[in-house]
C-alpha cells in the first residue's frame, strides 16, 4: 500500500514538474523567439559592407548567409586578412589566406567621376549598391565620396569610362602612428 502510494506520488510529482517545465519552456520558446539567424547578423557585422560582390554573392548579407551555411571565409578581398581572422574566430575555423580567385586586398579607394566627361546616362547610378552616386538623366553625375564603399561596380557600366577609382589619401584623421618614426622619449633627459 505504502509502496504503491509512494510510486504514485513520485509519478505525480514528476509529472507535475514535467508539465510545469514544459509550460515554462513552451512559453520561453514563444516569448524569447529569435527572429532570423543571429549568426548571419554577427557575420554581417564583421564583413566590410562594400557590397562589391567580389565574393560571388550579390552583397555582404548574402555572403554572410553563405558563410553561416558553410561557405569559405576567405572570399572577401575588401575585408582582407583582418576580416578573415575575425570570421575564423567567430566561426571556430582556421583562418585561411585570402582566396586569390576573388581578388586581392587593395588600399581603400573611392570612385571619382570626371565630371566634364560624364554624359548623364545614369548607368553608374543604377550599378551603385549604396546609392552613393548623385545625378539625373542627361545631367552630370557625381560620387558622394563619404558614402562610396569603393566597390568598383560603377566603373564597368560607364559607357564613356569617366569613372576612376582613386585611392583615399591619408589624412591626419586616418593616419596611424608609425612606430619606427617614434621619438626617443626617454633619452631626452
Amino acid at each position: 500500500m505504502s509502496l504503491s502510494f509512494a510510486i504514485f506520488t513520485a509519478l505525480c510529482a514528476i509529472g507535475i514538474l514535467a508539465l510545469i517545465f514544459g509550460l515554462v519552456l513552451g512559453y520561453a520558446a514563444v516569448k524569447f523567439k529569435v527572429q532570423g539567424d543571429p549568426l548571419v547578423e554577427q557575420i554581417d557585422e564583421i564583413l566590410p559592407q562594400t557590397q562589391c560582390g567580389q565574393c560571388g554573392y550579390p552583397g555582404c548579407k548574402p555572403y554572410a548567409e553563405a558563410i553561416a551555411n558553410g561557405d569559405d571565409i576567405n572570399k572577401c578581398p575588401p575585408g582582407g586578412e583582418a576580416t578573415i581572422k575575425k570570421l575564423a574566430d567567430l566561426m571556430g575555423v582556421e583562418a585561411k589566406s585570402l582566396d586569390e580567385a576573388h581578388g586581392t586586398e587593395d588600399v581603400k579607394k573611392v570612385a571619382f567621376i570626371r565630371e566634364n566627361e560624364c554624359i548623364g546616362c545614369t548607368k553608374c547610378i543604377q550599378a551603385c549598391p549604396v546609392d552613393a552616386i548623385l545625378g539625373a538623366a542627361k545631367q552630370m553625375h557625381t560620387v558622394i565620396a563619404d558614402e562610396c564603399t569603393g566597390c568598383d561596380l560603377c566603373v564597368a557600366p560607364c559607357p564613356v569610362d569617366c569613372i576612376d577609382m582613386v585611392p583615399v589619401p591619408p589624412s591626419t584623421a586616418t593616419w596611424r602612428w608609425d612606430i619606427d618614426k617614434s621619438i626617443p622619449i626617454k633619452q631626452v633627459n
Partner: protein, 751 residues
C-alpha cells in the same frame, strides 16, 4: 565623505593635498629657457595659418586668395559649435589657400592659409568688451569663441564649449603646473602677465560662478607663484596652491586628483565631478579677447634644448614656421647627430618632419635636443619588470597593454582600458628595455579609432544597401502591379472588342442573311437568266454587276471562306476566287463559270457560316471580308440605284460613283441589269415554285434553304426543305467538281 566640497576646501586651506598614483621625476631642464623674458619674435615673411588648430571641426573659410588682410581679421568663421575661427596673425596678403605640412605627428598636408606679411603688422579696429559684466553671458562666450580661443595647454579643446557648460561648477582650477621638462612658456607668462591672467580668471568666474577658484602651480616655479599670489591678492576667493613637482601632475585628471581627490570617470569629463580646468595661457587669451578685443593670434613658445644656442621664450605669431624660431634661438644643427626637432615636450611631443611646420595655438615648445640629450637606444624585449605599472598615473597595466597592442589584439587592449591612457610617457621613461610603449598605444588607439570609423561607415553602407534593396523591390512590385493592371485593362478591352466583334459579325451575318433572303429571288432569276444576260450584254461589266448584285453578300462569305481554303488548299483555288471575286475583267467569261461560281459560292457560304460561327477568322479572311464587304456595299448601292434608275433613270450621285468603273458602258449596263432583274424576278418566282432541277438553281435554292430555316421571318417552304437539302448536297459535290474545273479554266484563261 572625504572628498565633498567643504572638506576639500578645508584641506586646501591647510595646503594639504592628495597624490596620484605613479609619476616620474625626470630632469626638469627648465632653467635653460626661463631665465630671459619673453621676446617678441620678428615677423617671418610667410605665415602658414592652419584652418584647423583645435579638437573639433574646422571653421568656414571667409577669405580668398589675393585678399589683403589686417592683423586680427578673421579668416574662417565658426558655423558649428565645435568650430573655432582662425585669424590673420599679421597684416598682409593671402597668397594661397591650400595644403601645407601640418603641425601633426604625421606631417600630412592640411588646409592652410598662407599670408605674405607686409611687415606693418597693422591691427584691425579692435572692439574690446570692457563692460563684460553688464553683457549677457552668451555675448561674452560668443566674443571668446569669435576670438578663436581654444585650450592652450595641450589638446586644444574649444574654450567656449567648456565655459558654456550648464552644469554647476564647484572648482575652477587654473592649471599653471607645466610639469613637462624643458617647457617654461606658462612659467614666463605667469611671471610677466599675472595681472592679465587674473583678469581672465575674473571673466571665467563671471561666466561660471564657481564656488572655489584654485590656481595650481608646481613648487619649482617660485617666481610664478609669487606673481600670481600678488595678482590675486585682491580677491580672497582665488587660492594659489603650490603642488609638489612630479610628472605628470599637470595632467588634467591627475591635477584634479591632487587637489580634490576626485577621479574623473573613464570617458567622462572633469565637469562630471564638478571641476573645470583652464590653462593659464587660455586665461591670458580670454583676457586679451575681452579686454582688448584681440583675437588669439600669437602665443608664447619655448625654444630650448641643447642644440639651441640662445634658448628662451618668444611671442610667436600663429603660423610662424618653426625654421624662423630655429633662427631666433640660433639652432646649431651640428650639436645633433641627426636633425631632430620636437614639437611639444620631451615626454609627449612629436618629431617634426619639416622646418616649415607652422606654430599652432597648442604649440608650447620647440625642443632642439643635442646629441647628449637624445641618445637613440634600441628597443629590447620586455622583461616584465613591472616598472611601467608602478609609474602609470592612470593606474593602468602598461605591460598588458603593450602585449595586446603589439599583438594587434585590440579588443583585449580595450578591455585593459587603453583609452584611459593619457599618453604621458611615464612608462616609456622608466622602461629598462627602452620600449617606446606610448607609441604602441598610440598606434593601437588610432587603429581602434579607424576601425570604429570604418564600422560606422559599414553600418551606414549596410543601411543604404538595405534601403536600396527594399526600394528596388518595392519599385519592382509597383511596376509589376502597373503591368498587371494594364494587362487586365487590355484584356478587358480585348474581350469587349471581341464581344463587339462577335456582335458585329453576328449583326453583319443577320443583315447579310436578311438581304440574301430579299435578294434570293433576284439571285435565282439571275442564275436562270444568266445565259440571256450574257447574250444581251456583251460588256462584261454588266455581268459583273448583275451577278454581283445577286451574290454580293454571298461573296462576303466567299471571301472569308476563301481565306480558310487558301490556308488549307493553297494557291489554285484562291487565285480563281480572287479573280472571280475582285476582278471584273476575269468575269468576261461566259455563264458557265458564273454558274459554277454561284455553286461554289453557295457551297462556300455554308462553310463561311461555320467559320463565322467558330470565329476562327484569320487576318487574311478578315481583310478579304472587308474588301468583299466594301465591294458588296458599293454593288448594293449600285443595284439599289439601278433599281431606282429603272424608274427614275440617272441620278448624279450614281454617276460620280461609277466614274471609277467604266463610265462608257454604265448606262447600258444599268438598263440591261434592270431588264435582267425584272426577268429574273419573274423566273425566280416560277422556279422556286417548281423547285427546279437545273444545276444552277439547285445550289442557290440550297443556299437559300438553310437561311430560311434559320430566319423564321422569311417565307418557309417546309415541304421543299428535305428535297432542297438533298439537292444541295448533290449540288455541293457537283459544285466542288465544278470549282476544280473552274479554277483550271481560269488558269487557262489567264495563260
Amino acid at each position: 565623505m572625504e572628498n565633498n566640497f567643504d572638506d576639500i576646501v578645508k584641506k586646501l586651506d591647510k595646503n594639504e593635498l592628495w597624490d596620484f598614483h605613479g609619476g616620474v621625476f625626470p630632469a626638469e631642464q627648465k632653467e635653460l629657457s626661463n631665465q630671459t623674458p619673453i621676446a617678441q619674435l620678428p615677423l617671418s615673411k610667410y605665415l602658414y595659418v592652419a584652418v584647423k588648430q583645435h579638437i573639433g571641426i574646422e571653421g568656414q573659410l571667409i577669405v580668398c586668395e589675393g585678399q589683403v588682410v589686417l592683423k586680427g581679421e578673421p579668416l574662417t568663421k565658426s558655423s558649428n559649435p565645435f568650430a573655432v575661427p582662425v585669424h590673420a596673425p599679421s597684416s598682409g596678403k593671402i597668397i594661397s589657400i591650400g595644403e601645407h605640412v601640418s603641425a601633426h605627428p604625421s606631417g600630412l598636408p592640411e588646409l592652410t592659409i598662407t599670408i605674405e606679411t607686409d611687415q606693418k603688422d597693422k591691427w584691425l579696429p579692435l572692439k574690446p568688451m570692457v563692460d563684460y559684466q553688464k553683457q549677457s553671458k552668451m555675448d561674452v562666450i560668443a566674443a571668446i569663441c569669435n576670438a578663436g580661443v581654444n585650450g592652450m595647454g595641450g589638446a586644444g579643446f574649444p574654450t567656449h564649449i567648456k565655459i558654456g557648460t550648464t552644469k554647476p561648477v564647484e572648482f575652477l582650477i587654473i592649471n599653471g603646473v607645466e610639469c613637462e621638462p624643458y617647457i617654461t612658456s606658462d612659467d614666463r607668462l605667469m611671471r610677466e602677465h599675472a595681472w592679465q591672467i587674473r583678469q581672465g580668471i575674473d571673466i571665467l568666474c563671471h561666466l561660471l560662478t564657481p564656488k572655489c577658484v584654485v590656481i595650481a602651480i608646481e613648487n619649482n616655479k617660485p617666481e610664478a607663484i609669487e606673481a600670481m599670489e600678488v595678482a590675486c591678492k585682491e580677491n580672497s576667493t582665488y587660492q594659489v596652491v603650490t603642488i609638489p613637482t612630479k610628472y605628470p601632475a599637470g595632467g588634467e585628471k591627475q591635477l584634479i586628483q591632487v587637489l580634490t581627490n576626485r577621479e574623473v570617470p573613464a570617458k567622462g569629463l572633469p565637469i562630471d565631478v564638478g571641476v573645470l580646468m583652464h590653462n593659464v595661457g587660455t586665461c591670458f587669451a580670454v583676457s586679451d579677447a575681452i579686454f582688448s578685443g584681440k583675437p588669439l593670434v600669437q602665443r608664447v613658445v619655448t625654444v630650448t634644448g641643447g642644440a639651441a644656442k640662445t634658448p628662451g621664450n618668444f611671442w610667436a605669431p600663429i603660423g610662424t614656421p618653426v625654421s624662423h624660431l630655429f633662427d631666433e634661438a640660433n639652432y646649431n644643427s651640428k650639436a645633433q647627430e641627426a636633425t631632430q626637432a620636437i614639437m611639444g615636450g620631451p615626454m609627449m611631443g612629436f618629431s617634426i618632419t619639416d622646418e616649415n611646420v607652422p606654430v599652432v595655438k597648442t604649440t608650447n615648445c620647440i625642443l632642439l635636443p643635442d646629441a647628449k640629450e637624445s641618445q637613440t637606444r634600441k628597443e629590447q624585449a620586455c622583461i616584465r619588470c613591472g616598472a611601467c605599472a608602478d609609474v602609470c598615473p592612470a593606474n593602468l597595466l602598461p605591460q598588458q597593454l603593450f602585449w595586446h597592442a603589439k599583438g594587434k589584439e585590440l579588443d583585449k587592449a580595450q578591455d585593459y582600458n587603453l583609452f584611459d591612457c593619457i599618453e604621458c610617457g611615464a612608462c616609456a621613461y622608466v622602461c629598462p628595455s627602452d620600449i617606446p610603449l606610448v607609441h604602441y598605444y598610440r598606434v593601437a588607439k588610432s587603429e581602434i579609432k579607424i576601425e570604429q570609423e570604418e564600422r560606422v561607415k559599414a553600418d551606414k553602407a549596410r543601411e543604404r544597401f538595405e534601403k536600396r534593396a527594399a526600394r528596388l523591390i518595392s519599385e519592382q512590385k509597383a511596376r509589376d502591379e502597373k503591368h498587371r493592371l494594364a494587362a487586365e485593362a487590355r484584356k478587358q478591352a480585348m474581350s469587349d472588342n471581341g464581344n463587339n466583334a462577335k456582335d458585329k459579325i453576328a449583326a453583319a451575318l443577320a443583315r447579310a442573311k436578311a438581304k440574301k433572303l430579299d435578294s434570293a429571288n433576284v439571285t435565282i432569276e439571275n442564275k436562270s437568266s444568266m445565259a440571256a444576260e450574257t447574250e444581251m450584254n456583251d460588256v462584261p461589266e454588266s455581268k459583273t454587276v448583275t451577278p454581283a448584285s445577286s451574290n454580293e453578300r454571298v461573296q462576303a462569305a466567299i471571301a472569308r471562306a476563301k481565306a480558310k481554303k487558301e490556308a488549307a488548299k493553297q494557291a489554285l483555288a484562291s487565285t480563281t476566287l480572287t479573280k472571280d471575286e475582285s476582278n471584273a475583267e476575269t468575269k468576261e467569261k461566259e455563264s458557265f463559270p458564273k454558274g459554277k461560281n454561284i455553286e461554289r459560292s453557295s457551297d462556300e457560304a455554308a462553310d463561311a457560316k461555320e467559320i463565322s460561327e467558330k470565329k476562327a477568322i484569320d487576318k487574311e479572311a478578315k481583310i478579304a471580308a472587308a474588301i468583299a464587304k466594301t465591294k458588296a456595299k458599293k454593288q448594293a448601292q449600285r443595284i439599289g440605284q439601278d433599281l431606282q434608275a429603272t424608274q427614275v433613270n440617272d441620278s448624279p450621285v450614281e454617276e460620280v460613283e461609277d466614274i471609277e468603273a467604266q463610265q462608257l458602258t454604265l448606262k447600258k449596263q444599268r438598263v440591261a441589269a434592270a431588264v435582267a432583274k425584272a426577268k429574273a424576278k419573274k423566273q425566280a418566282k416560277q422556279q422556286i415554285i417548281e423547285s427546279s432541277e437545273s444545276k444552277e438553281i439547285k445550289p442557290t435554292s440550297k443556299s437559300v434553304t438553310p437561311e430560311q430555316s434559320e430566319n423564321t421571318h422569311s417565307e418557309s417552304q417546309a415541304l421543299a426543305l428535305k428535297k432542297h437539302r438533298i439537292a444541295a448536297a448533290v449540288a455541293k459535290a457537283k459544285a466542288k467538281k465544278a470549282l476544280k474545273d473552274a479554277s483550271q479554266n481560269t488558269e487557262d484563261d489567264k495563260s
